[in-house]
Protein backbone atom coordinates (compact mmCIF):
# COMPACT_ATOMS: atom_id res chain seq x y z
CA UNK A 1 0.00 0.00 0.00
CA UNK A 2 1.43 3.37 -0.95
CA UNK A 3 2.31 6.01 1.62
CA UNK A 4 -0.38 8.31 0.22
CA UNK A 5 -3.04 5.65 0.61
CA UNK A 6 -1.90 4.77 4.13
CA UNK A 7 -1.94 8.44 5.11
CA UNK A 8 -5.37 8.91 3.54
CA UNK A 9 -6.82 5.90 5.41
CA UNK A 10 -5.43 7.13 8.73
CA UNK A 11 -6.73 10.65 8.09
CA UNK A 12 -10.13 9.22 7.05
CA UNK A 13 -10.30 7.27 10.29
CA UNK A 14 -9.74 10.50 12.26
CA UNK A 15 -12.20 12.42 10.11
CA UNK A 16 -14.94 9.81 10.58
CA UNK A 17 -14.46 10.03 14.35
CA UNK A 18 -14.44 13.82 14.18
CA UNK A 19 -17.65 13.88 12.12
CA UNK A 20 -19.43 11.95 14.89
CA UNK A 21 -19.16 14.78 17.43
CA UNK A 22 -17.43 17.66 15.53
CA UNK A 23 -15.70 18.59 18.77
CA UNK A 24 -12.45 19.85 17.28
CA UNK A 25 -14.11 21.61 14.33
CA UNK A 26 -16.74 23.34 16.45
CA UNK A 27 -14.31 24.53 19.14
CA UNK A 28 -11.86 25.79 16.51
CA UNK A 29 -14.62 27.58 14.56
CA UNK A 30 -16.04 29.14 17.73
CA UNK A 31 -12.58 30.25 18.83
CA UNK A 32 -12.06 31.83 15.38
CA UNK A 33 -15.35 33.69 15.79
CA UNK A 34 -14.36 34.96 19.25
CA UNK A 35 -10.97 36.15 17.99
CA UNK A 36 -12.70 37.89 15.05
CA UNK A 37 -15.10 39.71 17.38
CA UNK A 38 -12.17 40.80 19.54
CA UNK A 39 -10.28 42.10 16.48
CA UNK A 40 -13.40 43.91 15.27
CA UNK A 41 -13.91 45.57 18.66
CA UNK A 42 -10.25 46.55 18.95
CA UNK A 43 -9.52 47.71 15.41
CA UNK A 44 -12.88 48.76 13.88
CA UNK A 45 -11.88 52.43 13.78
CA UNK A 46 -8.46 51.78 12.26
CA UNK A 47 -7.65 54.14 9.32
CA UNK A 48 -7.59 52.42 5.91
CA UNK A 49 -3.82 52.96 5.51
CA UNK A 50 -3.09 51.19 8.80
CA UNK A 51 -5.43 48.32 7.99
CA UNK A 52 -3.00 47.10 5.33
CA UNK A 53 -0.44 46.65 8.09
CA UNK A 54 -2.85 45.26 10.68
CA UNK A 55 -4.91 42.76 8.65
CA UNK A 56 -2.00 40.34 7.87
CA UNK A 57 -1.15 40.32 11.58
CA UNK A 58 -4.78 39.64 12.54
CA UNK A 59 -5.10 36.81 10.01
CA UNK A 60 -1.92 34.96 10.97
CA UNK A 61 -2.20 35.56 14.70
CA UNK A 62 -5.71 34.11 14.62
CA UNK A 63 -4.45 31.13 12.59
CA UNK A 64 -1.54 30.65 15.02
CA UNK A 65 -3.96 30.61 17.98
CA UNK A 66 -6.47 28.32 16.30
CA UNK A 67 -3.63 26.09 15.13
CA UNK A 68 -2.29 25.73 18.67
CA UNK A 69 -5.80 24.92 19.92
CA UNK A 70 -6.27 22.27 17.22
CA UNK A 71 -2.83 20.77 17.72
CA UNK A 72 -3.38 20.32 21.45
CA UNK A 73 -6.44 18.20 20.55
CA UNK A 74 -5.16 16.31 17.51
CA UNK A 75 -3.62 13.42 19.50
CA UNK A 76 -6.12 13.59 22.37
CA UNK A 77 -8.16 10.57 21.28
CA UNK A 78 -5.05 8.41 21.22
CA UNK A 79 -3.84 9.79 24.54
CA UNK A 80 -7.15 9.59 26.38
CA UNK A 81 -7.80 6.02 25.27
CA UNK A 82 -4.08 5.19 25.47
CA UNK A 83 -4.21 3.90 21.91
CA UNK A 84 -1.12 5.59 20.55
CA UNK A 85 0.86 2.41 21.13
CA UNK A 86 -1.78 0.48 19.20
CA UNK A 87 -1.56 2.97 16.35
CA UNK A 88 2.21 2.53 16.28
CA UNK A 89 1.84 -1.22 15.87
CA UNK A 90 -0.33 -0.85 12.75
CA UNK A 91 1.32 -2.31 9.65
CA UNK A 92 1.86 1.07 8.06
CA UNK A 93 4.86 3.33 7.59
CA UNK A 94 5.07 5.40 10.75
CA UNK A 95 5.50 8.54 8.74
CA UNK A 96 1.98 7.85 7.37
CA UNK A 97 0.69 8.56 10.90
CA UNK A 98 2.37 11.96 10.67
CA UNK A 99 0.91 12.70 7.25
CA UNK A 100 -2.55 11.51 8.33
CA UNK A 101 -2.57 13.78 11.38
CA UNK A 102 -1.06 16.62 9.35
CA UNK A 103 -3.91 16.28 6.85
CA UNK A 104 -6.61 16.50 9.53
CA UNK A 105 -4.94 19.43 11.30
CA UNK A 106 -4.50 21.21 7.99
CA UNK A 107 -8.15 20.69 7.11
CA UNK A 108 -9.35 22.22 10.38
CA UNK A 109 -6.90 25.14 10.41
CA UNK A 110 -7.37 25.95 6.72
CA UNK A 111 -11.13 25.77 7.26
CA UNK A 112 -10.85 28.36 10.02
CA UNK A 113 -8.65 30.47 7.73
CA UNK A 114 -11.34 30.20 5.05
CA UNK A 115 -13.79 31.67 7.59
CA UNK A 116 -11.34 34.36 8.66
CA UNK A 117 -10.50 35.74 5.22
CA UNK A 118 -14.03 36.71 4.09
CA UNK A 119 -14.92 37.87 7.60
CA UNK A 120 -11.88 40.18 7.68
CA UNK A 121 -12.85 41.39 4.19
CA UNK A 122 -16.30 42.33 5.50
CA UNK A 123 -14.91 44.06 8.59
CA UNK A 124 -11.97 45.90 7.04
CA UNK A 125 -12.08 47.52 3.56
CA UNK A 126 -8.34 46.93 3.07
CA UNK A 127 -8.96 43.17 3.26
CA UNK A 128 -11.50 43.14 0.41
CA UNK A 129 -8.66 41.88 -1.80
CA UNK A 130 -9.22 38.47 -0.21
CA UNK A 131 -12.57 38.31 -2.02
CA UNK A 132 -11.38 40.04 -5.17
CA UNK A 133 -8.42 37.66 -5.69
CA UNK A 134 -9.68 34.35 -4.27
CA UNK A 135 -7.13 32.12 -6.04
CA UNK A 136 -4.08 33.94 -4.67
CA UNK A 137 -5.74 34.23 -1.26
CA UNK A 138 -6.49 30.50 -1.11
CA UNK A 139 -2.95 29.61 -2.24
CA UNK A 140 -1.47 31.88 0.40
CA UNK A 141 -3.73 30.47 3.10
CA UNK A 142 -2.91 26.84 2.25
CA UNK A 143 0.85 27.45 1.97
CA UNK A 144 1.00 29.37 5.26
CA UNK A 145 -1.08 26.75 7.07
CA UNK A 146 1.06 23.87 5.72
CA UNK A 147 4.22 25.46 7.17
CA UNK A 148 2.58 26.02 10.54
CA UNK A 149 0.91 22.61 10.78
CA UNK A 150 3.98 20.70 9.50
CA UNK A 151 6.00 21.83 12.53
CA UNK A 152 3.05 21.72 14.91
CA UNK A 153 1.98 18.15 14.14
CA UNK A 154 5.48 16.80 14.86
CA UNK A 155 5.64 18.47 18.26
CA UNK A 156 2.02 17.64 19.12
CA UNK A 157 2.91 13.98 18.46
CA UNK A 158 5.99 14.26 20.64
CA UNK A 159 4.02 15.80 23.49
CA UNK A 160 1.31 13.15 23.17
CA UNK A 161 3.90 10.59 24.20
CA UNK A 162 5.39 12.80 26.95
CA UNK A 163 2.84 12.30 29.73
CA UNK A 164 0.44 15.01 28.65
CA UNK A 165 2.40 18.21 29.23
CA UNK A 166 0.55 19.85 26.38
CA UNK A 167 1.06 23.31 27.84
CA UNK A 168 4.59 23.19 26.44
CA UNK A 169 3.24 23.09 22.88
CA UNK A 170 2.76 26.87 22.76
CA UNK A 171 6.23 27.39 24.22
CA UNK A 172 7.70 25.34 21.37
CA UNK A 173 5.31 26.22 18.58
CA UNK A 174 5.40 30.02 18.42
CA UNK A 175 9.18 30.56 18.29
CA UNK A 176 9.65 27.68 15.84
CA UNK A 177 6.92 28.76 13.45
CA UNK A 178 7.91 32.44 13.51
CA UNK A 179 9.87 32.28 10.21
CA UNK A 180 6.89 30.64 8.47
CA UNK A 181 4.54 33.23 9.97
CA UNK A 182 6.85 36.08 8.89
CA UNK A 183 6.91 34.69 5.33
CA UNK A 184 3.09 34.44 5.41
CA UNK A 185 2.82 38.00 6.77
CA UNK A 186 5.05 39.37 4.00
CA UNK A 187 3.06 37.53 1.31
CA UNK A 188 -0.30 38.67 2.77
CA UNK A 189 0.86 42.26 2.85
CA UNK A 190 2.05 41.96 -0.76
CA UNK A 191 -1.40 40.59 -1.67
CA UNK A 192 -3.20 43.48 0.05
CA UNK A 193 -0.93 46.06 -1.57
CA UNK A 194 -1.04 44.43 -5.00
CA UNK A 195 2.76 44.09 -4.87
CA UNK A 196 4.26 42.35 -7.96
CA UNK A 197 6.60 40.24 -5.76
CA UNK A 198 3.64 38.22 -4.43
CA UNK A 199 4.38 35.26 -6.72
CA UNK A 200 8.01 35.20 -5.54
CA UNK A 201 6.93 35.24 -1.89
CA UNK A 202 4.44 32.42 -2.52
CA UNK A 203 7.20 30.41 -4.21
CA UNK A 204 9.49 30.95 -1.23
CA UNK A 205 6.71 29.94 1.14
CA UNK A 206 6.17 26.75 -0.90
CA UNK A 207 9.91 25.98 -0.69
CA UNK A 208 9.80 26.53 3.08
CA UNK A 209 6.78 24.20 3.28
CA UNK A 210 8.68 21.47 1.42
CA UNK A 211 11.69 21.87 3.74
CA UNK A 212 9.62 21.82 6.93
CA UNK A 213 7.51 18.83 5.87
CA UNK A 214 10.66 16.90 4.84
CA UNK A 215 12.44 17.70 8.11
CA UNK A 216 9.41 16.93 10.28
CA UNK A 217 8.73 13.60 8.54
CA UNK A 218 12.44 12.68 8.90
CA UNK A 219 12.30 13.41 12.63
CA UNK A 220 8.83 11.95 13.30
CA UNK A 221 9.83 8.36 14.01
CA UNK A 222 12.79 9.07 16.32
CA UNK A 223 10.77 11.71 18.19
CA UNK A 224 7.81 9.40 18.66
CA UNK A 225 9.67 6.20 19.45
CA UNK A 226 13.06 7.27 20.70
CA UNK A 227 15.01 5.12 18.27
CA UNK A 228 15.13 4.23 14.65
CA UNK A 229 14.88 0.50 14.92
CA UNK A 230 12.74 -0.37 11.93
CA UNK A 231 10.08 -3.01 12.45
CA UNK A 232 10.82 -6.20 10.53
CA UNK A 233 8.26 -6.31 7.80
CA UNK A 234 8.07 -9.46 5.85
CA UNK A 235 5.66 -9.61 2.95
CA UNK A 236 2.95 -11.82 4.52
CA UNK A 237 2.71 -9.64 7.64
CA UNK A 238 1.81 -6.54 5.67
CA UNK A 239 -1.91 -6.38 5.38
CA UNK A 240 -4.18 -3.76 3.95
CA UNK A 241 -5.69 -1.35 6.48
CA UNK A 242 -9.27 -2.35 5.73
CA UNK A 243 -8.89 -5.81 7.20
Amino acid sequence: MSLVRQSWLLAKNDLVQELRDLEMVMTAAFFTLVVLVMFALSFAALPAADQTLAVPGMLWLAIAFVGALTLTRIFDREREADTLRAVLTWPVDRVAIYFGKLGVTLLVVTGCGALLMPALALLFPAAEVFLERPLESATLLVLGCVAYCAVGTLFAAGLATASGKNVLLSVILYPLTSPALIFALVATRALLEGHPALTTYLGQLAALDAMLVALASWLFEPVLLGNVVKPVRSAPRRRPMKE
Binding site: V151, L154, F155, G158, L159, T161, A162, S163, G164, K165, L168, V171, I172, Y174, P175, L176, S178, P179, I182, F183, L185, V186, R189, Y201, Q204, L208, M211, L215, L219, P222, V223, G226, N227, V228
Partner: protein
Protein backbone atom coordinates in the same frame (compact mmCIF):
# COMPACT_ATOMS: atom_id res chain seq x y z
CA UNK B 1 44.45 15.23 29.87
CA UNK B 2 40.83 15.66 28.71
CA UNK B 3 39.75 16.12 32.33
CA UNK B 4 42.18 19.00 32.73
CA UNK B 5 41.32 20.62 29.39
CA UNK B 6 38.71 23.00 30.90
CA UNK B 7 41.31 24.22 33.39
CA UNK B 8 43.80 24.78 30.58
CA UNK B 9 41.17 26.69 28.61
CA UNK B 10 40.20 28.84 31.61
CA UNK B 11 43.89 29.55 32.30
CA UNK B 12 44.35 30.60 28.66
CA UNK B 13 41.26 32.81 28.94
CA UNK B 14 42.62 34.35 32.17
CA UNK B 15 45.67 35.48 30.19
CA UNK B 16 43.85 36.36 26.97
CA UNK B 17 41.11 38.50 28.53
CA UNK B 18 43.37 41.13 30.20
CA UNK B 19 45.60 41.20 27.09
CA UNK B 20 42.56 41.66 24.85
CA UNK B 21 41.05 44.39 27.04
CA UNK B 22 44.27 46.42 27.25
CA UNK B 23 44.78 46.04 23.49
CA UNK B 24 41.22 47.15 22.73
CA UNK B 25 41.19 50.14 25.09
CA UNK B 26 44.83 51.31 25.02
CA UNK B 27 46.30 50.27 21.67
CA UNK B 28 43.40 50.44 19.23
CA UNK B 29 42.24 53.75 17.80
CA UNK B 30 38.87 55.24 18.58
CA UNK B 31 36.44 54.94 15.68
CA UNK B 32 35.68 58.43 14.35
CA UNK B 33 31.97 58.10 13.68
CA UNK B 34 30.85 56.13 16.74
CA UNK B 35 33.49 57.09 19.33
CA UNK B 36 34.42 55.02 22.39
CA UNK B 37 31.14 53.07 22.37
CA UNK B 38 32.38 51.17 19.30
CA UNK B 39 34.68 49.24 21.70
CA UNK B 40 31.69 47.03 22.50
CA UNK B 41 32.07 45.66 18.96
CA UNK B 42 35.07 43.57 20.13
CA UNK B 43 32.81 41.64 22.52
CA UNK B 44 29.48 41.79 20.71
CA UNK B 45 30.58 40.38 17.35
CA UNK B 46 32.61 37.41 18.71
CA UNK B 47 29.73 36.55 21.04
CA UNK B 48 27.31 36.59 18.09
CA UNK B 49 29.63 34.30 16.06
CA UNK B 50 30.00 31.93 19.02
CA UNK B 51 26.23 31.88 19.52
CA UNK B 52 25.61 30.96 15.88
CA UNK B 53 28.30 28.25 15.96
CA UNK B 54 26.83 26.81 19.17
CA UNK B 55 23.31 26.82 17.68
CA UNK B 56 24.49 24.85 14.65
CA UNK B 57 26.54 22.49 16.88
CA UNK B 58 23.48 21.95 19.08
CA UNK B 59 21.36 21.07 16.03
CA UNK B 60 23.95 18.59 14.71
CA UNK B 61 24.41 16.97 18.15
CA UNK B 62 20.62 16.74 18.59
CA UNK B 63 20.22 15.09 15.16
CA UNK B 64 22.88 12.51 16.09
CA UNK B 65 21.18 12.00 19.46
CA UNK B 66 17.86 11.34 17.74
CA UNK B 67 19.13 9.08 14.99
CA UNK B 68 21.82 7.15 16.90
CA UNK B 69 20.69 7.31 20.54
CA UNK B 70 24.08 8.67 21.60
CA UNK B 71 24.40 9.76 25.23
CA UNK B 72 27.46 11.88 24.41
CA UNK B 73 25.55 13.66 21.62
CA UNK B 74 22.70 14.33 24.06
CA UNK B 75 25.14 15.81 26.60
CA UNK B 76 26.66 18.00 23.89
CA UNK B 77 23.24 19.17 22.70
CA UNK B 78 22.22 20.12 26.27
CA UNK B 79 25.49 21.96 26.95
CA UNK B 80 25.51 23.81 23.62
CA UNK B 81 21.79 24.66 23.91
CA UNK B 82 22.28 26.22 27.34
CA UNK B 83 25.33 28.13 26.15
CA UNK B 84 23.34 29.48 23.16
CA UNK B 85 20.96 30.92 25.75
CA UNK B 86 23.79 32.57 27.72
CA UNK B 87 25.78 33.88 24.75
CA UNK B 88 22.51 34.95 23.07
CA UNK B 89 21.56 36.95 26.14
CA UNK B 90 24.97 38.64 26.07
CA UNK B 91 24.49 39.45 22.36
CA UNK B 92 20.98 40.79 23.00
CA UNK B 93 22.29 43.03 25.80
CA UNK B 94 25.46 44.32 24.11
CA UNK B 95 23.71 44.87 20.74
CA UNK B 96 21.09 47.35 21.96
CA UNK B 97 23.73 49.21 24.05
CA UNK B 98 25.76 49.66 20.87
CA UNK B 99 22.66 50.44 18.82
CA UNK B 100 21.45 53.07 21.29
CA UNK B 101 24.75 54.92 21.13
CA UNK B 102 25.14 54.57 17.35
CA UNK B 103 21.62 54.80 15.91
CA UNK B 104 19.94 56.63 18.79
CA UNK B 105 17.61 53.67 19.30
CA UNK B 106 18.36 50.47 21.16
CA UNK B 107 16.09 48.32 18.97
CA UNK B 108 15.61 49.19 15.30
CA UNK B 109 13.97 45.94 14.10
CA UNK B 110 17.06 45.30 12.02
CA UNK B 111 17.04 41.84 10.40
CA UNK B 112 19.99 40.68 12.51
CA UNK B 113 18.42 41.90 15.75
CA UNK B 114 15.10 40.20 15.13
CA UNK B 115 16.67 36.97 13.87
CA UNK B 116 18.93 36.82 16.94
CA UNK B 117 15.93 37.45 19.19
CA UNK B 118 13.89 34.69 17.51
CA UNK B 119 16.79 32.24 17.64
CA UNK B 120 17.23 33.01 21.34
CA UNK B 121 13.51 32.29 21.88
CA UNK B 122 13.84 28.89 20.16
CA UNK B 123 16.72 27.89 22.41
CA UNK B 124 14.93 29.27 25.46
CA UNK B 125 12.09 26.89 24.52
CA UNK B 126 14.71 24.09 24.20
CA UNK B 127 16.01 24.73 27.73
CA UNK B 128 12.46 25.03 29.14
CA UNK B 129 11.50 21.74 27.51
CA UNK B 130 14.60 20.00 28.85
CA UNK B 131 13.93 21.35 32.32
CA UNK B 132 10.15 21.07 32.65
CA UNK B 133 9.19 18.47 30.03
CA UNK B 134 7.95 15.08 31.17
CA UNK B 135 9.72 11.80 30.50
CA UNK B 136 10.37 11.42 26.79
CA UNK B 137 10.56 15.14 26.14
CA UNK B 138 14.34 14.93 25.60
CA UNK B 139 13.60 13.62 22.10
CA UNK B 140 11.22 16.49 21.52
CA UNK B 141 13.82 18.97 22.74
CA UNK B 142 16.33 17.42 20.34
CA UNK B 143 13.89 17.87 17.43
CA UNK B 144 13.42 21.48 18.56
CA UNK B 145 17.19 22.02 18.46
CA UNK B 146 17.38 20.53 14.94
CA UNK B 147 14.64 22.90 13.77
CA UNK B 148 16.39 25.75 15.58
CA UNK B 149 19.67 25.12 13.77
CA UNK B 150 17.92 24.79 10.39
CA UNK B 151 15.93 27.94 11.15
CA UNK B 152 19.10 30.08 11.54
CA UNK B 153 19.38 31.07 7.85
CA UNK B 154 15.60 30.88 7.27
CA UNK B 155 14.85 33.33 10.07
CA UNK B 156 17.50 35.73 8.83
CA UNK B 157 16.14 35.65 5.28
CA UNK B 158 12.52 35.89 6.46
CA UNK B 159 13.23 38.97 8.55
CA UNK B 160 15.30 40.48 5.75
CA UNK B 161 12.44 40.33 3.23
CA UNK B 162 10.04 41.52 5.91
CA UNK B 163 12.33 44.53 6.42
CA UNK B 164 12.11 45.54 2.76
CA UNK B 165 8.92 47.39 3.60
CA UNK B 166 10.38 49.07 6.69
CA UNK B 167 12.80 52.03 6.96
CA UNK B 168 16.34 50.88 6.36
CA UNK B 169 19.00 51.27 9.04
CA UNK B 170 22.52 52.55 8.58
CA UNK B 171 24.45 49.55 9.82
CA UNK B 172 28.09 49.88 10.82
CA UNK B 173 30.34 50.40 7.85
CA UNK B 174 33.72 48.91 7.13
CA UNK B 175 36.39 49.02 9.85
CA UNK B 176 40.14 49.60 9.42
CA UNK B 177 42.38 46.48 9.52
CA UNK B 178 43.94 47.29 12.94
CA UNK B 179 40.48 47.22 14.53
CA UNK B 180 39.81 43.83 13.01
CA UNK B 181 43.24 42.71 14.32
CA UNK B 182 42.12 43.55 17.89
CA UNK B 183 39.03 41.44 17.38
CA UNK B 184 40.92 38.13 17.15
CA UNK B 185 42.40 38.13 20.72
CA UNK B 186 38.92 38.97 22.09
CA UNK B 187 37.43 36.16 20.02
CA UNK B 188 40.14 33.77 21.24
CA UNK B 189 39.50 34.68 24.89
CA UNK B 190 35.73 34.24 24.54
CA UNK B 191 36.14 30.94 22.66
CA UNK B 192 38.38 29.64 25.48
CA UNK B 193 35.79 30.55 28.12
CA UNK B 194 32.94 29.05 26.05
CA UNK B 195 34.80 25.81 25.32
CA UNK B 196 35.82 25.49 28.98
CA UNK B 197 32.21 25.94 30.12
CA UNK B 198 31.03 23.57 27.40
CA UNK B 199 33.40 20.81 28.50
CA UNK B 200 32.46 21.26 32.17
CA UNK B 201 28.75 21.08 31.32
CA UNK B 202 29.21 18.03 29.07
CA UNK B 203 31.11 16.29 31.89
CA UNK B 204 28.28 17.14 34.32
CA UNK B 205 25.68 15.64 31.98
CA UNK B 206 27.78 12.52 31.40
CA UNK B 207 28.23 12.08 35.16
CA UNK B 208 24.50 12.60 35.68
CA UNK B 209 23.70 9.93 33.07
CA UNK B 210 26.26 7.56 34.68
CA UNK B 211 24.69 8.09 38.10
CA UNK B 212 21.20 7.48 36.71
CA UNK B 213 22.35 4.22 35.11
CA UNK B 214 24.06 3.14 38.35
CA UNK B 215 20.88 3.93 40.28
CA UNK B 216 18.72 1.90 37.89
CA UNK B 217 21.20 -1.00 38.02
CA UNK B 218 21.17 -0.90 41.81
CA UNK B 219 17.37 -0.71 41.88
CA UNK B 220 16.82 -3.58 39.46
CA UNK B 221 19.61 -5.62 41.07
CA UNK B 222 17.96 -5.25 44.50
CA UNK B 223 14.74 -6.79 43.21
Amino acid sequence: MLARLPLVLFAAAALAIPYSVQRIFLHTGIEKKMGTVQKIFYFHVPLAWIMMALAVACGIAAAIQLRRRSQLAESISIATGELVLITGLAVLVTGPIWGHATWGRAWTWDARQVSTGLLWLIFAAFVLLRRYGAAGSERLAAALAVFGAVDVPVIYYAVKIWKTTHPSTDVVGSLPPQMWASLWPALGALVCVTLGLLLVRIRQEQDQAGLDEAWIALDTGGK
